[in-house]
Structures are given as structure tokens and as C-alpha cells.
Amino acid sequence: MLGVEGLAGPLGRAALLVGLIGAFFGLIAAVMGTLNEDEKVLRLVPRFATLSCVSAISAFAAMEWAMITRDFSLAYIQKVGSKSTPALYNFTAVWSALEGSILLWLLVLTCLTSGIVFKYRTRITDPMVGWAVATMFFVGIFFFILTLGPANPFAAGAPGVLDGPGPNPLLQNHILVVFHPPILYLGYVGMTVPFAFAIGALITGRVGEGWLVETRRWALFSWGFLTLGIILGSWWSYEVLGWSGVWAWDPVENASFIPWLTGTAYIHSVLVQERRGMLRVWNLSLLVSTFSLTILGTFLTRSGVLNSVHAFSESNIGPYLLSFFAIIVVVSVALIGWRGQKLHSPGTIDSPLSREGAFLANNVVFSVFAFVVLLGTVFPLIIEALQNRQLVVGEPFFDKLAVPAGLTLLFLMCVAPVLPWRKASGELLSNRLFWPAWGGIGALAFSVGVGATGFAPLLTFGLGGFAGGAALRQLVLATRRQGLRGLVGRANGGMVVHIGVILIAVALAASNSYTHSQELLLKQGVVATFDGHTFELIGFKEESDARSTVIAAVVRVDGGKSYTPAITKYKSMGTNIGTPSVKSSFVKDIYLTIEPPVKVSSKTAKIKVFIKPMVMWLWIGGGLMGVGTLLSAFPGRRRKPTDATSALIPSETSA
């Protein structure tokens, strides 16, 4: 007998099935209509796209309804639902585990497919659009199959269950759980659009620059969302996990970072193809890599394979994701091979000392960096498969290789913005780099002056000043010529992104190199001192509800405002989660955690204090990257094709 509370399961399953049918017929209509040039059939495509989109929305709404009404007839609600979870975190609990995450992915994907079909509704008879839409339907079918099979969020649960543990405690104690996963997914799933158009271009043989123009904003927005998602994830880690860091190089983080690296390489190298008609195979390969790496990353982090090779057989979703990854790679490589002759670019790059030369160097560094992160992530798997031995590759390995890669990229950010297309002379470089270079020296001198030490961080500060100078120079020149319009367009918006990246690099170098910590045993009424700051335990406070008990130490910092590092005990799970409290400023953060055991009646508290310089600049830099991405999406000054593709190179005799 089904009550209203038991309807979500059947409704959700039915919606997913209808969605799958819609996507399937959408694929058939797009392929057959395009092959037979049958406009009547192609006109059906938008209907099928709408059907699968509405179905996915309905399924997602059914899952939210089940979560809100605590419908414990579903296995997923039994796993992540709880009567005591607050409304907001109950809402976000839908994407707190595998099945709900895949449902969210599907929701974004079908909405994007619908959006693409709507945007190109008047050009649906264009074969490239037809094949691109077919590719998106194909990807959609795969995710519908996942949600109906191995990652079914509407699977029936064991009978008689009246309550559940709720989502992971870390997913119910910070507002960022609302924003981080959906934004990250917008980035992941958004990469499907340029990938689909790349496949469309390969199938139709229109491998010129037309498909790039169609998808450049989609690629940019996807990259922007991926960037924002990663930054928000770092912020969340910092605010919630209590170890005072923002990035731990764990497989889940790496799974988002690897496609970000290849995506970043793409949005640079695509400029070379647009301007010079070159690097066609390379750009297609980068797009295929970026999209397939999002699938591989999902496989690595969602199948349980990274915990142990032997866990692979216990996972249902792993083989599906791995097979899909293999299909993408094989089909894409086959298509690129098939179109090999057409992909040959007639142009040449005149000199390594040119904008396109710098982009190529940038691509080499990004690609090798992506390879390093991927290798470090999967290396434990390789070792376990070959030698049946456990191995862990962690932060020190990644740091060791990421630092030189990051410094090289910073150096390229110093030089590339001032390089003209085609070729640069030594004199031109000397002219354009002179003041930015002094900016670098100034930053280095200032850093040494305020007591900064260490080769890598100092080099980061120096190169940061240099690269910042180069970016500012470009922006000043552009705004001088065009006023505020000089801030928009890819070149200028890109410089705003560069400044954001530089701020992040500098902040990471400072916070990683100069963090100091101390465990303080604070006694009520006694002021302790560390690193020029005072800490006084005022007392404890306790808050309790059906879900959890929070015990917080009230610590007055520098005689001013009080901060409350806390430990939360989640009753249903019996888990203790520490929550840091942070005093932030532009110069440094004072990060407080409380060490267990904690008693409200106690007169002492063991508080760990981290003094972390410049952390706030990480978030400012992230915000600037977002703003810069938006500015890049607006069209900049129109350039006539008859304009010179490079600046005039001063003659030897000119001043």
C-alpha cells in the first residue's frame, strides 16, 4: 500500500525512465534526421530534449520531496536522511552521496542539452549542431542508465526503517555545501558542450575554426564554474576540516583539478587556433581529455577503487564509468585519426618568442602538470595491481612537483602578456618587460624587507610582482585606449584572471611557508601569548538539539572579540567533529581549533593556534578569477581581419 510519503520512489523511477526514453529518441532523431537531412525529424529533437529535461527535473524534485518528507521507504533516504537534520542541510543531503550526486549531474546535463537545443533551434538542420546534440543525448543516456541501474537513488530500502543517520557530519555544518557541489558540477558537466561540438566538427569534417566560435563561451563558463567550484571547495575545507589548510591533494580534489589543468591549457591554446588556424588536433585532444578526465575522475573517486584495487569488484558503478571513459577515448581518437588529413594546419609558428610560442610552452607545462597529478593519484593502484602492496602518494610528492610547475607558469604569465603574435624582437621585449620586471624586483625587495625567507616563496613573490606588473600594464594600456571597455574581452578579462591567479599563488606560498602553530593550554582568567597575540579563555558554552551537541570554548583574541572553536558530537553517528574559528584580516588569519577532550565544566582548554599569513587573498584572488572570467565572456574591441596580427616591431634605429 502506497501512502503519499511512498510516492516519491515510483514517481522518481518513472520520471527517470521517461527521461531515458526521451534521450534515446532524441539521439535517434538527431542522428537519423542529420544523416537523412530530414528536417521534419530534426524538428522533433527539441521536444525530446525538453522531455528528458523535464523528466530529470521531476526526478530531482521527487528526490527532494522524499528527503524533505523523510521518506524512509527509499534506501538512499535511509542512508543520508534523518529526522533531526536541519531543513537546509536536509535539502542539500540530496547530493551528499553517490546516487544523489549522479542525479544532480543528470539534472545539469539535461538542462544544458535543452539549453543547447533551444539556442540552436533555428539551426537544428546544421549537421554539426545535429551531431553535437546527438553526442549530448548519448552522454545523457549514459547518466540516465546510471541512475536507473547502479546508482539508483529511488531504490527501495529495507522495510521498517523509521530514521537514518543523516548526511556525513562534514556535509551539515557549513553553508558552502549549498554552493560548492552544484557549482563544481556546472563546471564538470559544462565541459560536455564544447566536447559535443568537437565531436560534431569531427564527424562533419568541419574541423576549421567554426566550432570553436560556437563553443568558446560555453568552454569559458564551464572553466569559470570549475574554477569557482574548486575555490569554494578550498574555502570549505579551510572553514570546516580544522587542519588549517585549503588543499590536501586527496583524490577527490585531484579529480577536479586535473580537468581544470587541461581545460586551462585549452582556453589558452584555442586562441592560437582562432588567430592562426593551428593546433587543431591538439585543441581537440585537450577538449576530449578534459571531458574524459571528468568521467575518469568520477570513476576514481566514486567507485571506491582508490581505497583498494579489490574494492573494484564490490562497486557497481565503477565498470560503467570505466567503460564509458573507454568509449569516449576510443571514439574520439578514432575520429581524430579519421580526420587526420583535414586537421593538418597549413600555418607555421614563426618563432618561439611569440604569443603563440608562449601559449605552446604554457600548454606543455599544464599538460605535464596534469599528468603528474593523474600519475600521483593512480600510482597506488598501479603498485597494488603489480605488487599487491599498499602505497600512499600524498601532499609532499605533489608539492615537490607542483612548485616548479607553478613557478614556470608564473614566469610565463610575466612574459606572455607582452608578447606579440608571430615574433618579438629583443628590443620590444626589453621595452615592454622593463617596468613589470621592476615590479617583480620591488615585490621581492619588499618581501625580504618584511622578513620573508626561503627560495621558493621568495621566487613566487618576485615572479608574482613581475606577472602582476605585466597584467596591469596590459589593462592600463587597454583602458587608456578604450576607457572601461578596456576591461572586457578575452585578452583584458584574461589579465584580470591572471591577477587573481597571482594573488592565489602568492597567498598559497605565504600561508604554506610561514604558518606557525602552537598548542596552548588556556586557563580561565590567564592570558597566554603566542607570536605577538594574546589568548584568554573566557569559558565554555554548550548547545544541544536532537541532532547534535556543540561544546565551544570562548576565547578572547588580542583583548577584543571572542572566537569559539568547537567540537560537535553528532548523536546518531557518535562522531565528534571539530569546527575551527577564524579571525581573518588582510595580513593574516588567526585560526583556532579546540583539542579533545572537552568538558563544559572545565576551567582549561587545549587550543591549537595557527597564525596563517595572507589567507584572505586566496578568496580575493578566487573572486577576481570569477570576475575576470565574466569580463572575458563579453566581446572586446572588434578587430578587423585586415589588422596586423602583431604589434609593429620597432626598428633597430627607433628609440
Partner: protein, 161 residues
């Protein structure tokens, strides 16, 4: 202005950079507090019961136990950082090390990035050589005709890049 941007000035700038880096690098005194040293050491040790987390990051009880062991060794002050990491690795076997060894098959994780970088740079070098060879610098009659035709057409829009 021309003399200002001449090579001797660039040389001077280079010398200033080297001098500043030398001053800054020699002033590096390592961790300030015992807690800093404990943090630095525990960043190299994996929590044995977690999925790849370091002892520094993890809040698990196994990580807490290792952190306490490291803290005791640091307070005792008889061992270097590497010796402390070595003693923990002996207790828990090598799988608690977060940095793979540079011997045996584990060394592949160090060798492969270098090999890929060398291949990529060599490929880039070869591509530039080929482009230089292909780039005759002479415009063919077809090229000239194409440019003349384009110059005669109305300009279409294109982003400023």
C-alpha cells in the same frame, strides 16, 4: 629612456634579484616552534586508517596516536626529522610514508614526469624546427591573390585577442 632599458641595466636588475634571493634564502631558519616541527613531520606521514590523508590533516584516532608519538620524539630532541619519520615507517611499514621511495618500481612515479617533460619539450623543439623549415617566408601567387581578395571584402567581426 633608451639607455635606461639597455642590457647593463637588465644585468643590474639580475644582480639585485640574485642578491635579494641570497639574503632571503640564507635567513631561512626553519620551523619556529616545536608545534611547527611536529606539523612539518606529520605532513610526511600517512594516517594508517584513512584514505590517503596525512597524519597532519586527519582527525582519526590512529593519526592522533602517531601525532602524539611524533610530539614525544620532538620534545625529546634526540632525533632529526628524517629519523623520526624513519622510526614511524619502521613501526608501521613503508605504507605510512606519503612520499614514494626513489628505488625499485616506486621510482617510476619520479621518473615518469621527467620523461614526459623531456618528451614534450623535445616534441616542441622538433615542431619549431619543422615550422622553421616549412616557413619559406616567400608568399606564393595564391597567397597574394587570397590577401588581395580579403582586403577587397568587408571586414567581419572578430574578437580582440
Amino acid at each position: 629612456m633608451k639607455y635606461l632599458k639597455s642590457w647593463p641595466v637588465w644585468m643590474l636588475m639580475g644582480l639585485i634579484v640574485v642578491a635579494l634571493l641570497a639574503v632571503g634564502t640564507t635567513g631561512d631558519n626553519g620551523p619556529l616552534t616545536q608545534s611547527d616541527r611536529i606539523d612539518s613531520i606529520t605532513k610526511h606521514i600517512a594516517c594508517p586508517t584513512c584514505d590517503g590523508e596525512s597524519v597532519y590533516v586527519s582527525r582519526a584516532s590512529a593519526a592522533e596516536a602517531i601525532r602524539n608519538q611524533v610530539a614525544r620524539e620532538v620534545r625529546a630532541g634526540t632525533m632529526t626529522d628524517d629519523e623520526i619519520i624513519g622510526s614511524i615507517a619502521n613501526t608501521f611499514k613503508a605504507q605510512v610514508l606519503l612520499v614514494p621511495r626513489a628505488t625499485g618500481i616506486d621510482s617510476l612515479v619520479w621518473i615518469m614526469p621527467i620523461a614526459v617533460l623531456v618528451c614534450a619539450v623535445a616534441g616542441l623543439w622538433a615542431a619549431f624546427r619543422r615550422w622553421r623549415r616549412d616557413n619559406s617566408g616567400e608568399a606564393s601567387a595564391d597567397d597574394v591573390a587570397l590577401v588581395e581578395r580579403l582586403l577587397a571584402e568587408d571586414p567581419t567581426d572578430e574578437d580582440n585577442v
